[in-house]
């Protein structure tokens, strides 16, 4: 390979996309070539500019809270959230996870037809967690008159909370879902929508699963930012 050919590989090497043999050859050359070492720093910068040219898309407002909650920041959850169609989990919850899965699959197909990309993504995420062989199910609240349901836990994909038996929230109040660390304050995740007394939430936390002990739902005043649970409705242990 000529010097020019090595130089041409700097950007690809810096992006980690050289084929195995080519990468090894480049690395052998790089260690003794000042020109390529200097070229690599410039290649890194060019790569960064190419990446930064990606069309700017803003994430959901909730992402900020999700990200910062893991770093001990007051996680103020915006109250205004995009409207989302609600699943009727009242019936589905009484059935086995496999039936829930079927229901999710049907809803996903419906969302795809309606071109509802965000809802479709959420349903696929639920589907993925429910289908994973290592997902564990923990039930809580056996009394049918009180809040009860299941928590599906997957070490990497996340946690799904399905609950029913929730009374309609008082006027001006909403339900909020939380993860509860073994040490430290509960972390708000998202508004928990429970039409007809039942709902489902995918709980993402910046904290590793082994640092969490429970998930919970609280009642929060709709007009105030969520910082700590106002009225705890239930807490479901993860094990």
């Amino acid at each position: 390979m000529t010097e020019d050919q090595y130089t041409d590989l700097c950007e690809l090497y810096a992006m980690g996309v050289l084929d195995g043999e080519e990468r090894l050859e480049f690395e052998r050359h790089l260690s003794g070539c000042n020109e390529c070492q200097a070229g690599l720093a410039k290649a890194v910068e060019l790569n960064e500019m190419i990446l930064s040219a990606a069309p700017r898309v803003e994430p959901s407002p909730q992402l900020r809270s999700r990200v910062l909650a893991g770093f001990g920041q007051p996680a103020v959850v915006p109250k205004a959230q995009s409207p989302r169609r609600h699943l009727n989990w009242g019936m589905a919850l009484a059935l086995a996870a496999s039936v829930v899965l079927g229901f999710v699959a049907w809803q996903a197909e419906r969302s795809a037809r309606l071109n509802d990309a965000s809802e479709l993504a959420r349903l696929r995420e639920i589907q993925q967690i429910l289908q994973a062989p290592t997902t564990k199910q923990v039930t809580f609240g056996p009394k049918p008159t009180a809040p009860h349901g299941s928590v599906f836990v997957h070490e990497k994909l996340g946690i799904i909370l399905i609950a029913e038996g929730l009374p309609a929230p008082p006027e001006g109040w909403t339900y909020e879902s939380w993860v509860v660390p073994k040490d430290g304050a509960p972390v708000p995740i998202e508004a928990f929508r429970a039409p007809n007394g039942g709902g489902i939430s995918v709980l993402h936390s910046a904290l590793p699963l082994d640092q969490l002990k429970a998930v919970a739902v609280s009642l929060e005043p709709a007009s105030a930012p969520v910082t700590k649970p106002t009225k705890l409705v239930f807490a479901a242990p993860l094990a």
Partner: protein
């Protein structure tokens, strides 16, 4: 690195969680955009943004606040999280993940010129990307946002490997030239 980024990086090193909020407000949208471009699924992109910020927090002690360029470092971390994810879907974890981690070494992200110069060059690169042919843009999309090697691109595009290499080389050459014309240095 801008004085603000240097200060931000210093505060992150001192485990100042407030600095994380500032970092998110400044770069969260950029990191999300880069990741979304790669994985295309908004929910997955948001998960990977979370992973990215955790990784920044856990590895900030390796960052050289005097010479390092914070933006370049975190954009690369974000991109690499997305590529790791895509490679896991293609059942290619392992060696490639380790390689990407090596390439996040902050010594590669050094500040050489002023922020104003960098912005000028960035605009030049953006303009040059517009001037690339469809095929040149496609191969760069696959290397930079999908993490494919040239061999993998050849298979995906049903083109000879030599053609793909030529497309990649010519695209990068045009972009390098645009940097030089905007006041950067050639190599």
């Amino acid at each position: 690195m801008s004085p603000n980024d240097r200060e931000l990086a210093e505060r992150l090193k001192q485990r100042d969680a407030g600095a994380m909020a500032e970092l998110y407000d400044k770069y969260g949208g950029l990191l999300y955009s880069v990741i979304l471009r790669a994985v295309t699924n908004p929910a997955t992109a948001e998960d990977l943004v979370q992973e990215t910020f955790l990784r920044i927090w856990n590895r900030i002690h390796t960052f050289d606040t005097e010479k390092g360029r914070l933006e370049g470092w975190i954009v690369t971390i974000a991109r690499n999280r997305a590529i790791d994810y895509l490679r896991s879907l293609r059942s290619q974890p392992g060696e490639s993940s380790a390689t990407l981690e090596d390439l996040e070494h902050s010594g590669l992200f050094v500040t050489r010129e002023t922020e104003a110069d960098r912005l000028t060059r960035r605009k030049a690169v953006g303009d040059a990307l517009e001037r690339l042919s469809e095929e040149q843009r496609a191969v760069l999309e696959l290397t930079h946002f999908q993490g494919l090697t040239q061999t993998e691109i050849a298979e995906r595009m049903h083109k000879p490997l030599g053609t793909v290499k030529s497309l990649v080389r010519s695209a990068l050459k045009l972009l390098r030239t645009s940097v030089v014309e905007a006041g950067g240095t050639a190599r």
